[in-house]
Symmetry: C2
Subunit: 417 residues, 2 copies
């Protein structure tokens, strides 16, 4: 993608009303735009990061048997009344087509998927089922000052599973836990992310969250470094300040943000919607459910929040909007310009995704500053100086060392990195 | 995809409250589910069709320089007040986080993209720009009885273009027109779809719609078969019942539905938002805009509405959820079952997308009826009978003729079709 003509402009200073580091960096880098508190547009550069994350999650959901679907955002009052959450679910945004507010904007989709599953599930032969979606959620957030980490509308991956019995749910829950670990690992925040015991609701003693360490987090967790698990402060009294796995009380306190949750619903939703199945022996039973969420913009925000330095973002490779930021210095020198065009064409031909800073009127300082701010992993510079040596300069974002690489080695080197 | 275990169940009778043919077929075939009037879920099978259409549109938008982004659904009152459409845009759904309704759910995004474009565009060097999105739109539709053809929430592709001057807009408008023709052609409804002159709004005498012929359409158009264009009845008096291209008055009347529109906005939105640029000579000018929409579920609905027979849908190849419906008859015969598994593995290995009806407890009649209802282009049957001849039976949906094809030719034949 040529930077000239791209719908991208970096800015030196983030808007004054933006207090969150992730939003400041993402706004300055041209990834997002703030429409109002808790509401951001994904600009082309930001949508590329979003899509990387979406694809990672989709691959991992498909790998555990998930079938993707897409449910509506406007929900009928009856569905939420059936579960007793109409009027009591804090974050619900009510809406009406007439004067009467008899719809809600979906903050989650148990009220929709449970009755829908009745269409598919009636016999033990129809179980288990796993369905998920990437879908806009709406939440009346009171505190919306954490940039992408707390939004009023955001895309969530929500997976719902339907089972014969508790043992089957337990096994699938475990498979989802592992899929989530792979997702956070691939997004580059595996090391900072802990499986965390949290309050469980009606159907199990604990639920599990994934908490990622950051000073900007609103949760406090207690980490057992030996087991690599943590406890959310909200349940610390229950557990008497002990690691629930090894029993150790050597726990380390830290601030974190919830980046995913997995939850055993049991029959909480199948009962009100009479989502039943006939078992092998003809007995009618309630379907056992689980639900598993990841907020995508939040995940993107957390990555930006913790992967950066004073110059800008440092994207982990698998979620970076491009693999290479190709920077042409001295584009008024026709030879430099022509050579950089050749490098660009070679990389594209090899299937490498490249953002090409071909701007004529940006200074060397501006180009370097923008490249650091945007944070693409590999910067390749072509200039008068490198041209004289018949080489390009390759530098990893975040590293101080640059390397001169000859033209004929460049593409293969970039692919192998 | 193995049909056993897939989140799919066809039904014999569509819900009694569903009067629209497209929704009846799509509900019966397991593509969609109706939540309430004008509101449908895309089930896994339906989402596959949706994604095919989305990818066709994305490819064609990228081919004319479009950059994809993603804008919010909740819009601030101020933005809509600035253009004078708050309180006057019929289909607007108002919503509030508090008691006050000071937000609207976006039915279109001129009010968001125009101020956002100010961030990118300030000089003539920043133009032209083309951005588009696939995004949920919300509309207070009074009549929502046409299935996917008139929904209260639906995903729209909306493209916005920003130009130096009218000539540049005119040229791009023409490029979009051609892209739209390719989209409808690839979706299999090119023959039924006409570029149609409609009322133009403030900035040009006419706008253009794409209208697709169907008895279920709510519009009446007058077609000039020679020029392959049409006129919407709404402007028939203006044009004095003449083809606007050749002047002929030999026009054919037919019912149609709008499947796309392209619109010259001029400065209608750039003026209120002061979206200006500095020209080469230093003069400040308003940016000239265009907008171009396609509703994706409607397009899917129109295809189902016109591509069917009494047995079910007949998907055009490029939008079909799968390329092949592999049907195993007599799966209780182990040899049949094993052979169909082999065929399935071969096709998957060759990159062919296959829905595999491996159900044990469905009858031959049920399997054939489901296959016709779902409407995948190629049906491949393996049975006791075909096995005896060391062949599979291949039949094109909608054709009466089946062909016996030997195992070793099958995969290549399917790929070449």
């Amino acid at each position: 993608m040529r930077q000239s003509g791209y719908f991208l402009r970096t800015i030196k200073e983030a808007p004054k009303d933006e207090v969150s580091l992730n939003a400041q960096l993402l706004i300055r880098g041209g990834f997002i735009d703030k429409l109002m508190a808790g509401t951001y547009s994904l600009l082309p550069l930001g949508l590329r990061v979003y899509r990387r994350i979406e694809n990672i999650i989709r691959e991992e959901m498909d790998a555990i048997g998930g079938n993707e679907l897409f449910l509506p955002s406007m929900h009928p009052k009856e569905n939420w009344e059936k579960t007793g959450r109409w009027g009591s679910f804090d974050a619900l945004i009510y809406v009406g087509l007439d004067e009467e507010k008899n719809l809600a904007l979906g903050p989650t989709h148990e009220e929709i998927i449970s009755p829908l599953a009745r269409r598919i599930i009636s016999s033990y032969k129809d179980l288990p089922q796993y369905v998920y979606q990437f879908q806009n959620k709406f939440r009346k957030e009171k505190r919306a000052k954490s940039g992408l980490m707390r939004m009023r509308e955001f895309i969530m991956k929500d997976l719902y599973s339907f089972h014969h019995n508790q043992e089957e749910l337990d096994a699938y829950y475990e498979a989802v836990r592992k899929a989530y670990e792979r997702i956070f690992e691939r997004c580059g925040i595996g090391g900072e992310t802990y499986l965390t015991y949290a309050s469980g609701g009606a159907f199990s003693r604990y639920s599990h969250e994934f908490q990622t360490l950051t000073e900007a987090g609103e949760d406090m967790i207690y980490i057992c470094d030996k087991c690599r698990v943590a406890i959310n402060r909200e349940i610390i009294s229950d557990l008497e300040y002990k690691c629930p796995e090894c029993g150790s009380s050597e726990l380390r306190e830290d601030k974190a943000v919830e980046t995913g949750n997995i939850f055993k619903l049991g029959t909480r939703f199948s009962e009100p919607f009479e989502l039943n199945f006939q078992d092998k022996d003809g007995e009618k039973k309630s379907v056992i459910m689980g639900c598993y969420g990841i907020g995508l913009q939040r995940l993107m925000g957390v990555i930006a929040e913790i992967k950066n330095d004073q110059r800008g973002i440092i994207w982990p490779l698998e979620v970076s909007p491009f693999r290479v930021h190709l920077v042409s210095l001295g584009v008024k020198n026709e030879e430099v310009s022509r050579k950089t065009d050749d490098v660009y064409a070679d990389l594209i031909k090899a299937g490498v995704e490249v953002l090409y800073d071909d701007r004529v009127d940006a200074t060397v300082g501006e180009k370097f500053a923008d490249s650091d701010l945007i944070g693409i992993p590999y910067r390749v510079v072509v200039s008068d100086k490198t041209l004289k040596e018949n080489k390009a300069e390759v530098k990893r974002r975040g590293s101080e060392q640059a390397e001169l690489v000859s033209w004929h080695e460049l593409t293969n080197m970039i692919i192998s990195l």
